[in-house]
């Protein structure tokens, strides 16, 4: 009995090892390409089409959660094996991976520089290094900023519900805070905004330099803009006008469904998350308008090619095709992911797009005009290490564990440790 068990365990082990080492790259003579993605890039149909047009290529998508994706990719790059042929790099971490660019293929070797004019300049620059000589990734979507609000909750609080009227309420974030006060005075049991963290992030994403100056030096402790953003968000938390929710968590979904907050910052890609969380019952109750303080960018990704892949040439061709204007336009129509290419987001067809769920809001127009006016934030190499420190500080304020001043002091200290 036990001997049989040992035998079967050994056999399984051998099978696992064989599968692990085998690397079934040239099964049935086709070139196999894998795509390492997170959330919804809207590639399902495009991939089928690409395979039909290129019978010698077989494409496999690997989708995991973003945090897991980044961690996995880091270990795969460190280990020298296991990474997908094409990997998505999110805007928040692309600077971190840029520091390890020798693990990636320089796409300029395959002529990527000729494509430069497709993208908005800032988007192109985020995906390059060495003053543009090293092309790390080709831009997919971008996350230009909007603000989502619940029409019914605004009405109950005696506020306007029409999106142009609402936009007039908050030209700046200070005005937004004033609206929060009015809202809370009328309907104290409903939170004005889901979380102070997203307000903070949005304000910061509207500045050109956040935690790091453009020469990559750490300036969060000296930059008034960081402090102002923090204070604005912390004040909302102190006054208990936020739901103190972890953004995009299960609790956040529940709160959406319960309708327990009235506004949330929404980059283009967040519309799908709100719709999924709030469900069909809330159709037409949510609406989108322009965010206070002008345009900003939060999120959006790049497709990069790790050096360890066996087919960099084929991978490049696929990445190039997936990020081309025609495909970006189709993805926008299907998923709402905003194209990062001016020619596409200025396209009349894109501009005319409305989102049924969000009370037929003209999302194409709202996000495109936000994209026009945006000043992208410089992301330092260690941006993704510093950012969360300020996020948890705001959560401490929202939880009533610390005063805004204490939370700020602790955050600065922890950030200092993180950049050391």
């Amino acid at each position: 009995m036990s001997r049989r068990l040992v035998g079967s365990v050994a056999a399984t082990l051998v099978m696992v090892l064989a599968a692990g080492c085998g690397g079934s790259s040239e099964a049935d003579g086709k070139v196999q390409l894998s795509l390492g993605l997170f959330s919804d890039f809207g590639y399902d149909k495009l991939i089928e089409e690409y395979q039909a047009a290129h019978p010698n290529i077989k494409i496999e998508q690997r989708k995991v959660k973003m945090e897991q994706h980044n961690t996995q990719l880091a270990t795969q790059l460190a280990g020298g094996r296991g990474a997908a042929d094409i990997v998505a790099l999110e805007e928040g971490v692309v600077s971190q991976f840029r520091a390890s660019k020798d693990k990636f293929v320089n796409l300029a070797e395959y002529g990527a520089k000729d494509l430069k004019s497709q993208w908005a300049d800032w988007k192109w620059n985020q995906g390059t290094a060495d003053g543009g000589d090293f092309v790390l990734g080709l831009g997919t979507d971008m996350g230009s900023l909007g603000l989502c609000y619940r029409r019914d909750l605004f009405e109950a609080a005696g506020l306007p519900t029409d999106r142009t009227e609402v936009a007039k309420l908050w030209p700046t974030w200070a005005d937004y805070s004033k609206v929060a006060d009015q809202f809370t005075a009328k309907t104290p049991n409903v939170k004005f905004v889901d979380t102070g963290r997203n307000v903070y992030k949005a304000i910061l994403d509207q500045t050109e330099e956040g935690y790091f100056a453009k020469d990559d030096s750490y300036i969060a402790d000296k930059n008034d803009k960081v402090k102002t953003a923090f204070d604005t968000a912390a004040a909302l938390g102190t006054k208990q006008q936020t739901g103190a929710l972890e953004p995009f968590s299960q609790d956040w979904n529940v709160a959406l469904k319960q309708g327990s907050f009235a506004t949330t910052t929404c980059p283009a890609w967040a519309l799908a998350l709100i719709k999924a969380g709030a469900g069909d019952a809330a159709a037409g109750k949510w609406d989108v308008t322009t965010a206070p303080g002008g345009g900003g960018n939060w999120g959006g990704s790049f497709l990069a090619i790790p050096k360890q892949g066996k087919h960099p040439k084929e991978a490049y061709e696929l990445a190039k095709w997936l990020t081309a204007p025609e495909q970006q336009k189709r993805i926008f129509k299907e998923t709402g992911n905003l194209p990062s290419q001016p020619k596409v987001y200025q396209d009349p067809e894109v501009q005319a797009t409305v989102n049924e769920y969000f009370n037929k809001a003209p999302v194409g127009q709202i996000f495109a005009s936000s994209a026009e006016s945006l000043k992208p934030t410089y992301r330092g190499t260690k941006d993704s290490k510093v950012g969360p420190v300020f996020g948890t500080a705001l959560t401490r304020v929202e939880q009533g564990k610390q005063s805004a001043a204490d939370a700020w002091t602790q955050a600065l200290k922890e950030a200092q440790d993180a950049v050391k």
């Binding site: 973003m66 270990t75 390890s100 529940v254 950012g387 564990k401 610390q402």
Partner: protein, 325 residues
């Protein structure tokens, strides 16, 4: 007894003549000498590859400035260790780990003992109950954590709802240290109590029944029977569960990680102020979020030392306690 002793004394004398032919057949002597080693070798080979090598390699990494992606950045000696001993986050994580360990393991093993004693009494449908107590352990930890995280939700959690029925204000389970430890321990207890109960039950069933009978005749109560016969008789099993739950408890990761809603995002610190960040969570943060593999390896080694210390203390303590009576 005497009979047995004479037999063993006689054995060497009898074996003298039989040893002569084995000199002629070298192979069989070789066989007798080395086969046992060969038979246990696979374990040590596997242990060497998956146990010893990572252990030594981790120690090597901990002596370097080692970045996860870019690898070795130079030898730094014990600098990582020196930094660790001055790192308040490390001591906080150590405190959380020990607190969670005590909060979850002590009630868990006591409850398991009680549960096993109940199951040992020959309930109707015993197979059903025995399978039932193991069920929580079979369910994926991620699923358990997700469900418990909902139970302990601040705004819409069922635990706060029930507390509200008896007039207690809602608790922000993730904001307060003690509350978060209680919630995470509940999860651990739920998963492991049944498993340990089954181990105890198996041991209890091998306790000779005549011991109970004679003690009952002497007028011992059920309570007395349990503490004076059952517990001392299953001492080896208790020692075993104490050591395994020490190792498991000190390496707590999945439960606190999934209890933190920030874990899915880029915020795996175990609470807004590290209220329930265990050592393994801290190691994960350093190694996989901040990519500081050298420092993470240092934490791993300190964790190893802590587990060793606590296991030794527990082992001797339990041996003394269970040895009484």
């Amino acid at each position: 007894m005497t009979d047995l002793r004479t037999r063993t004394e006689a054995a060497p004398a009898a074996s003298v003549p039989s040893s002569t032919p084995s000199k002629r057949f070298g192979l069989s002597r070789w066989d007798a000498k080395y086969t046992p080693y060969l038979i246990i070798a696979p374990f040590f080979v596997v242990f060497g590859i998956f146990g010893l090598y990572p252990l030594v390699y981790t120690a090597w990494v901990s002596l370097h400035d080692w970045q996860l992606i870019d690898g070795n950045q130079g030898f730094v000696g014990f600098a990582n260790y020196a930094e660790l001993f001055g790192d308040t986050k490390f001591w906080n994580a150590l405190f959380n780990t020990l607190s969670l360990f005590v909060l979850s393991t002590v009630p868990q093993l006591l409850a398991a003992l009680g549960l096993a004693a109940l199951l040992d009494r020959g309930l109707r449908g015993s197979a059903f109950w025995r399978a039932g107590v193991l069920l929580p352990n079979v369910i994926s930890v991620a699923a358990v954590a997700l469900v418990f995280a909902q139970f302990f939700g601040r705004d819409f959690g069922i635990v706060n709802y029930l507390l509200g029925l008896v007039g207690i204000d809602p608790i922000d389970w993730r904001a307060e240290t003690w509350a978060s430890h209680l919630a995470v321990s509940t999860m651990v207890m739920w998963r492991w109590t049944g498993y340990n109960a089954l181990l105890y039950l198996a041991a209890m069933q091998s306790v000779p029944k005549d011991m109970y009978e004679s003690a009952t005749l002497d007028g011992a109560s059920r309570w007395r029977l349990f503490w004076s016969i059952t517990v001392p008789s299953i001492r080896p099993t208790i020692l075993f569960t104490v050591v395994t739950s020490t190792i498991g408890g000190l390496q707590l990761f999945a439960e606190p990680a999934l209890f933190d809603p920030g874990f899915a995002a880029n915020n795996s610190t175990g609470g807004s102020d590290r209220q329930f960040q265990t050592l393994v969570l801290y190691m994960y943060e350093k190694g996989f979020r901040l990519f500081d593999a050298g420092y993470a390896a240092t934490i791993a080694w300190m964790l190893f030392v802590v587990v060793l210390l606590v296991a030794v203390v527990n082992f001797s303590l339990t041996r003394r306690i269970a040895g009484k009576g």
